[in-house]
Each structure stands twice: as C-alpha cells, then as structure tokens.
Symmetry: C2
C-alpha cells in the first residue's frame, strides 16, 4: 500500500489554491506565500507547507512562479494515470456518484455501476453503463478497475467486497455503514453519511 505524501487536509486545500492561482494568473507571473495566505485568510506556515508538499519552495523575494505552481498542483491531483472505478449498488447514491462530474480533475474515471436488480444493461442520465452483476468481473478485467465503490445496504456489503477483491481492485470506498474484512494491502475508506451529519449535529 502506497502512502499518500500529503495529508487529506492538504489535498483538500490544493484545489482552493488552484482556483485562486487561476484568478491571479493573468495579473502576475509570481506570487508570494504571504500574499496567498493573506488573501485566502490562511496561516502562512500552512500555505508554505501545503505548497511545499507538491512543489519546490518559493524563491526569496519573488515567491512562486504562478504557472509552475499551478502545473505542480494539477499534476499532483491528477496523478500519473487515470484510475478506473466501478460502483456496486445502483441505488440513488450509486447513481449520483456515477454521474458526478467532480472526479475528473483528480484523475479518476467512474466507469460503470452494477446492481443485482439490473437484468439488462442500462444507461445513466449521463450515458454511463449500469450493468448486471454478472458483468462485473469481465468489466473490471477489461477496464483494469483500480477502485470499487460499495453503495449497497450494509447486509450485502461484505459479499460485494469479496467479489470486488476477486476482481482485483486495489482499494475499496465503502458507503455501507459496516466494517469490512479485507486482505491486507487493500485499503478501504469508509464514508458514513449519517455519521458525518450526526457529528455536525453534535456541534450545533
């Protein structure tokens, strides 16, 4: 299992820097960490650390070259090659993720969804395939699927997980509120919507 070299918090701020730099690009060649920090209302130490994790340090006096910095951030976010992703569970959430347009900038292509209730191939609103479970193995092989997303009910999640592991996905993103058993070396990331909202609810 590769370890990401930047924290999730830093990764979350990278698109913020990128958007900010895009606005500045036409107005200047260089920008200092001090300016970025002030205008984005962030700590300067944090800005230097975040940017330093994907790019070289800014030059004394001139700061960062905006074009180079943008390229470094984009390259980091996109990675070396696009990861193909499959979804198992084509309910409302599965279909929402299938058609979500925000993954591309991170070098991720959500290629298809699969569901036990789908008997004949369908298309999502955005034209992505929604296929019977019997197609999963072939599809994963042909598309070299790297990640499997689980959006089935908790009771079905382990079985789906086992199938995805057999299909040789290298990571699992699980929306079912359960704990999965996986072979060592396959990272799993849980996304518990109810828990996230419940946590916010405890803060209000």
């Amino acid at each position: 299992m590769k370890q990401p070299d930047v924290s999730k918090a830093t990764m979350g701020r990278l698109p913020v820097y990128l958007k900010y730099l895009k606005e500045k690009e036409s107005k200047a060649d260089n920008i200092s960490a001090t300016t970025i920090a002030r205008e984005l209302r962030m700590g300067e130490v944090r800005v230097r650390k975040d940017l330093g994790s994907v790019s070289g340090a800014g030059r004394p006096k001139t700061g960062y070259n905006i074009g180079e910095l943008m390229l470094a951030i984009e390259n980091y976010l996109r990675g070396e090659k696009t990861t193909e992703v499959v979804i198992v569970g084509a309910g409302k959430l599965g279909r929402a993720l299938l058609d979500y347009s925000g993954f591309g900038e991170y070098g991720i292509n959500v290629a298809a969804a699969f569901d036990v209730s789908v008997k004949l191939p369908e298309k999502s609103q955005n034209g992505k395939p929604i296929l019977p479970m019997s197609e999963l193995s072939r599809f994963c092989r042909e598309h070299d699927a790297g990640i499997g997303i689980i959006t089935v009910p908790a009771a079905a999640a382990q079985k789906v997980c086992d199938e995805l592991v057999k299909c040789r996905v290298k990571g699992i993103w699980c929306f079912a509120p359960t704990v999965l058993n996986l072979p060592a070396g396959i990272p799993v990331q849980y996304e518990n919507m109810a828990l996230s909202l419940a946590y916010l609810n405890k803060k209000i």
Copy 2:
C-alpha cells in the same frame, strides 16, 4: 458552538458496538471490555475509552450490563431531540440524501429539499417534499430547521449559504467543493466526495 464530547472516530464506532451488543443481548446480561475488544478485533484501551465516553465504566469482574450499555449508546446517538434538516439543491445527490434512511438512528430528520429549478411542490420517491426556493424561509421557520445541507454547484453555494443563515439554521453541511464565509458560531462541515475518492486513489 457546542463541542461534541466524543471524537468522530469514536462516534463512528458506537453503532458498531450497538450492533454487536444487540447480537449478545439474548445470550448474556453482562459483557467485559476484554470480550468486546477481542471479538471486534479492536484494542481494549480503545474499547474502554469509547464506551466510557457515553456510559459509566464497566464493573470489575462483571463488566458492562448489556442492556444499560445499549441504552446509553442509543441515547447518545439520538440526542435529546430530533434535529430537522433541509437540503438546498435537489439534484441527484440532494435527492439521494433526502431519501437516505440512515439518519433516523442519529436523531436527525431530513425534512425537505429545495431547488431553484422546482416551480411547483414535488414529492421524492419516498414521499418527502421537494419545494421551490421561495418556500425555504417559511419551511425553516415552521419546522425549526437546525441544519442546512448544501448540494448545489460550487458557484451557487455561498448565496445558498447566506439564505440558510438568514433562515437561522445552526449548522451547514456543504457538499459543494468551495469554502464558505459564515458568521462565527455557525459550524460548517465540508463533504468533498471527489477529494475523498482522490485521497483513497493516492493510497492504492
């Protein structure tokens, strides 16, 4: 702003304990942290700490009374009163969250969704109202909405946030990949789907 007295990680494990205890309830009256830790393959220190944050400590020799422990966990998760929640942005994700059934056990009721493109009241698949934006203020007042969920595109998120703040929500859950300006004292929690998947992608 209230601070939650348990961490998000602990909160995430509470339903796991609860499910486990439900299975044990008919078989025994008491259970030790040692047994729980072993059977759930978790560290004993963590189990004691987690359970201690919502319940008293287990008794020496006998451990926890299963029924009492379940009640303590359920009460903590549910809170004192149900929080009413509104969603702004009735696209695929907004509708998926509107009809998601997992919030109830956390004392949360997602009451309605609102969207600029909705001109006449609609119903979701599960019968929840999807209403025009012009209804937001009245609805929030009548239902004493505590949390607003933002599932509109990033460009529209700040405007929606401002409207929700005017409607006196006490917290914001934001799925738009942006950073919101909010008055102090209103917690905002960001949920960036693309970022979460991108983070997993960096680990495989």
